[in-house]
Structures are given as structure tokens and as C-alpha cells.
């Protein structure tokens, strides 16, 4: 029925076996351009920074959970020496009381010598502390329960060992919690800022790519391409750029954390290392953290594709 099939002087019986070497699925938006490479670099840097903040927030959040667990399971009983009191008997009595209280896992009374050693950093060694009224400490580890029954222990102590005071570190815990929460909120804000900056960069790049490919868009329109089809082509193009940039940035961030984890052993032995260790834990992100980095990289790629599609579609709708 077509002119082509009824044409008389066609080359006889052409071999219509598909040519193996036939190139046939080149993307309609040219893959390589200087602007494209620049966008990949911008996305890689943004992804790297976004993964660093996300990973940092995860480290702090995990570490703070560890403190909460550690600190809230441990309480300290303090017994201050009073005139005419047998402090050893008081310590033994308080330890016994604690041992029989509900929810207690382990009780360890520090000896007089251990208590004195605790003061050494402040008072120096070589002092004779025997004359000083040094308070004695009993460390009580509670069972691993969600809400250890500190009140019961406090009541038991008040009844059986007057003069013993209980410190459940709640004040410390609240401070650490506040600090960790502040760091996580700050990191989340940074993360949002970076995503917004990246969204804008992708927007500019998309508009640039559309201006650079105006001829292609026009030809596609003339050969009957719908706006949705054209915007899908741009989306695919930017998704590829986004994936490349996202994976490069994500891989660099993963390498950074892996390197930091390896180096953290050195840090812990140095001055200030313990503080860093307390804040970030072992600096080890764990599978969840690396999963988050991969998720951020992929999400950034998908976001890049989606943003460009929306912009292209809107732009095409305005062209009439």
C-alpha cells in the first residue's frame, strides 16, 4: 500500500536481516557536553557533602543512643563519711540493699584505695589521704530494661542505708541528649540546604541544556513527538548525569568514612581522641550508614531526573 513497497526500481531482494553493527538507540539528547560534565562534578560534590552530613548525623545519633544505653543502665551510690560512723559497714549495708533491689544486675563497691585513686588526677599522688573524709562509691548496673526502676532502689536505700545518696546521671544524660539532638538538627538543616542548592544547579543546567538543544526539540516536535516524550528524553539524560555524579560523590563519602574508621584507632590513643570517640563512637558507620549513603546518592540521581523533567515539560507547554 505504500509508495515504498510498490516502487518498481528497488534493488532486488535486499537482505533485510538486521545489521549487527547498526547503531540504533543513541539517546536523543546528546550525552556528552561540557555543561553535562560540569553538572556531574557539581552533583558529585553536593552528594559527597550531603553524605558527609547525613553520615555525621547518623554517627552522632548512634553514639548518643549508646551513651543513653550505657549511662542510663548505670547508677552510682555515694556514701559520705559521717563522724562516728563505720564507713565500711555502711558501704556493705548499702551494697547489700542495692543487690536485693529489683532490676539490679550487678553491684560493685569501690574499695577505699580505688576511691582514693579517683582523686589522684585532682590532688596528685604521694599524698596521704587516710585522714581525709573521702566519700565511697558503689557502682550499680541495672538490668537492660527500657525503664530501670531507679525509684525502688532509691526508696530501699533511704529505708535501709540512710546517708547513702543515689546519682542516676540524669543531668548528664539530658545534656548529652540536648547536644546530640542539636548536632543532628544542624546536620539535617545543612543537608536540606545542600539539596536545595543542588536542585537549583540542576534547574539551571536543565534550562541551559534546553537552550543548547533547541534545534533537537524543534525537530522532535516536527516529526510528531509529544511533549511528554521529549521531557522523558531529557529526564533520562539528567538521570544518567545524576546517577554518575551521585555514585561518584557517594563512593567518595563511603571511602571517607571507611578511612576515618581506620584512622580512629590512632585518634583514640591521642590527646582529645577520647572526646572525639565519645561524640562519634568508633567512627564506624555500619551497614545502615553505608546504606544511607547509597540511598542519598540514588535519591539525588532520581531527584535530578525528576526536576529536569518538570522544568522541560513546563517549558514545552509554554512553547506553542
Amino acid at each position: 500500500m505504500s509508495a515504498v513497497s510498490t516502487a518498481g526500481d528497488r534493488e532486488p531482494g535486499p537482505d533485510i536481516q538486521p545489521d549487527k553493527a547498526l547503531r540504533r538507540d543513541m539517546p536523543l539528547v546528546p550525552a556528552s557536553s561540557i555543561a553535562g560534565r560540569a553538572l556531574v562534578i557539581v552533583i558529585a560534590i553536593m552528594t559527597f557533602l550531603a553524605c558527609l552530613t547525613a553520615g555525621g548525623a547518623i554517627l552522632v545519633a548512634t553514639a548518643s543512643q549508646d551513651w543513653r544505653g550505657e549511662v542510663s543502665r548505670e547508677v552510682t551510690i555515694q556514701i559520705k563519711p559521717a563522724p562516728g560512723q563505720d564507713i565500711e559497714a555502711a558501704v556493705a549495708k548499702a551494697a547489700e540493699t542495692a543487690r536485693t533491689a529489683p532490676g539490679v544486675a550487678d553491684v560493685r563497691a569501690l574499695s577505699k584505695q580505688e576511691s582514693e585513686q579517683l582523686l589522684e588526677p585532682w590532688l596528685g599522688n604521694g599524698l596521704d589521704l587516710t585522714e581525709l573524709p573521702i566519700p565511697r562509691l558503689i557502682i550499680v548496673r541495672m538490668l537492660d530494661l527500657k525503664a530501670p526502676d531507679i525509684a525502688a532502689l532509691r526508696n530501699a536505700l533511704a529505708a535501709q542505708a540512710p546517708g547513702a545518696s543515689l546519682d542516676d546521671h540524669r543531668l548528664w544524660l539530658a545534656r548529652l541528649d540536648t547536644m546530640a539532638d542539636a548536632i543532628v538538627i544542624f546536620a539535617s538543616l545543612l543537608f536540606l540546604l545542600m539539596i536545595s542548592a543542588m536542585t537549583m544547579a540542576v534547574g539551571f543546567a536543565t534550562r541551559g541544556a534546553m537552550a543548547g538543544n533547541r534545534e533537537i526539540i524543534e525537530v522532535l516536535h516536527f516529526v510528531g513527538a509529544a511533549d511528554s516524550y521529549i521531557s522523558r528524553q531529557f529526564q533520562a539524560h539528567f538521570l544518567r548525569l545524576g546517577l554518575r555524579g551521585g555514585l561518584i560523590g557517594g563512593a567518595l563519602a563511603a571511602l571517607f568514612f571507611a578511612g576515618a574508621s581506620a584512622l580512629s584507632a590512632w585518634w583514640t590513643s591521642s590527646v582529645g581522641g577520647e572526646e572525639i570517640g565519645a561524640l562519634f563512637g568508633a567512627f564506624s558507620l555500619g551497614p545502615r550508614g553505608y546504606g544511607a549513603i547509597l540511598a542519598v546518592a540514588v535519591a539525588i540521581a532520581v531527584l535530578t531526573g525528576a526536576i529536569s523533567r518538570i522544568i522541560v515539560y513546563r517549558h514545552l507547554r509554554r512553547l506553542q
Partner: protein, 212 residues
């Protein structure tokens, strides 16, 4: 508002008809073709396409109509990063058809227009005549109801021009309305029964062709 290129002219392209659109350079041939292709809107007057007023069409309808129109541009408008095969297959590709479903068709048409050996070549390495043939093949591949061609034989030797004209005539016989803008008198004389639309000074004169 720009200069009025053509004014107060009325004509219709009947289904399955064949006409040359001719006139001196700058007379408005390309403008008329663009009006028919819906890439220009008239400042006044009505363009009706496939029985519908073009000014009432939304974008999706325009897309639908463009799939029924094949167009050969004077400057070819091949996409530089696509091979000859990919350029010619473009109208079928944008319809969402699977590549395997049209491969044989495209290869056959490319061989017919003499580009069988140039399927993987990029436009940058094609000669003017080869680009011309690729542009024509792209316009024909979707078997349009209306074919608009702007100087389609401008860059080819007389022998190939005759062969391409025969292709357009075959297409017309199989049911496509053909409009060829040209000022090549020799070409028009080869198909005397075609109608001639002559633009000049913004006006249009219509000469019916010899009876077939």
C-alpha cells in the same frame, strides 16, 4: 508584527493530490509550508487542517496531526549526533514503537534511496545529496497523509532528482497528498499533470495540471 509575506489567498490541498508550490525566492513558499505544518499561525485568516480549524487545536492534537504530515526541510534538519538510520527512524521512534518493529522498514527505505551503505554515518560526513535523501526518507518513513517538501531536489544531480520525484509520485499514487515547494522548472515539467500554485507579490495563482 513583521512584514506581511502573503495575504488574501485561499487554496485547499485535496487528499491524494499532487502540487508544486512555486514562485521566486522570498515570495512566501516556505511561509505557506510552515502554515500547513502548524509551525506558524496566520495573523489573520483561517488555516484548516484535516478538516479542523488549526487555531482551535491543543498541543496534543497538533502532535497527532504532525504524525500525519511528513516534512522535508530545505536545510534538512537532521540531528547531528544521530546516524542516518537513527535520523530516518526518528518519526517511528517518537511514536513509541519498538526498534525491532521498524528496523526492516527503515533499512529497506534507506537502501531504496541509495543510503544502504551510509546507515551508520553521522550527518557531518554525508554529502549534500545524501543529507537530502536522508531528510526525504525521514519524511516518508511513517507513510504520511500529507507530505510537505521544501526544495527537496535542490542539492542533487538531475538523475537523482528524477528518481526522488518518482518516489514522491509513487507516494502520491498510494494515497498521500504531496506539496513540493520548488523553483526548478525542469522538475515541474517532468510531472505535468501536477497542480501548480504560484506565489508572487503575496498573492497566489493556481494552475491545474494537464489531465492525466
Amino acid at each position: 508584527m513583521g512584514v506581511e509575506v502573503v495575504r488574501d489567498l485561499s487554496f485547499s490541498i485535496k487528499p491524494q493530490s499532487f502540487q508544486f508550490l512555486t514562485g521566486p525566492s522570498g515570495a512566501g513558499k516556505t511561509t505557506l509550508l510552515r502554515l500547513m505544518l502548524l509551525s506558524l499561525k496566520p495573523t489573520r485568516g483561517i488555516v484548516k487542517i484535516f478538516g479542523q480549524d488549526a487555531s482551535t487545536l491543543d498541543k496534543d492534537e497538533i502532535t497527532g496531526f504532525r504524525r500525519r504530515i511528513g516534512v522535508v526541510f530545505q536545510d534538512f534538519r537532521l540531528l547531528d549526533h544521530l546516524t542516518t538510520y537513527e535520523n530516518v527512524a526518528l518519526p517511528l521512534r517518537v511514536m513509541g514503537r519498538a526498534e525491532a518493529s521498524y528496523r526492516a522498514e527503515v533499512v529497506e527505505l534507506l537502501r531504496w534511496v541509495g543510503l544502504g551503505e551510509r546507515m551508520n554515518a553521522l550527518p557531518a560526513v554525508l554529502s549534500g545529496g545524501e543529507k537530502q535523501r536522508a531528510a526525504i526518507a525521514r519524511a516518508l518513513i511513517a507513510r504520511p497523509e500529507l507530505l510537505l517538501a521544501d526544495e527537496p531536489t535542490g542539492n542533487v544531480d538531475p538523475g537523482l532528482a528524477r528518481r526522488l520525484l518518482r518516489l514522491f509520485v509513487e507516494l502520491h499514487k498510494s494515497g498521500t497528498a504531496v506539496v513540493i515547494a520548488t523553483h526548478d522548472l525542469a522538475l515541474m515539467d517532468q510531472f505535468g499533470e501536477a497542480r501548480r500554485l504560484v506565489v508572487g507579490d503575496g498573492r497566489l495563482q493556481i494552475f491545474d495540471g494537464d489531465s492525466p
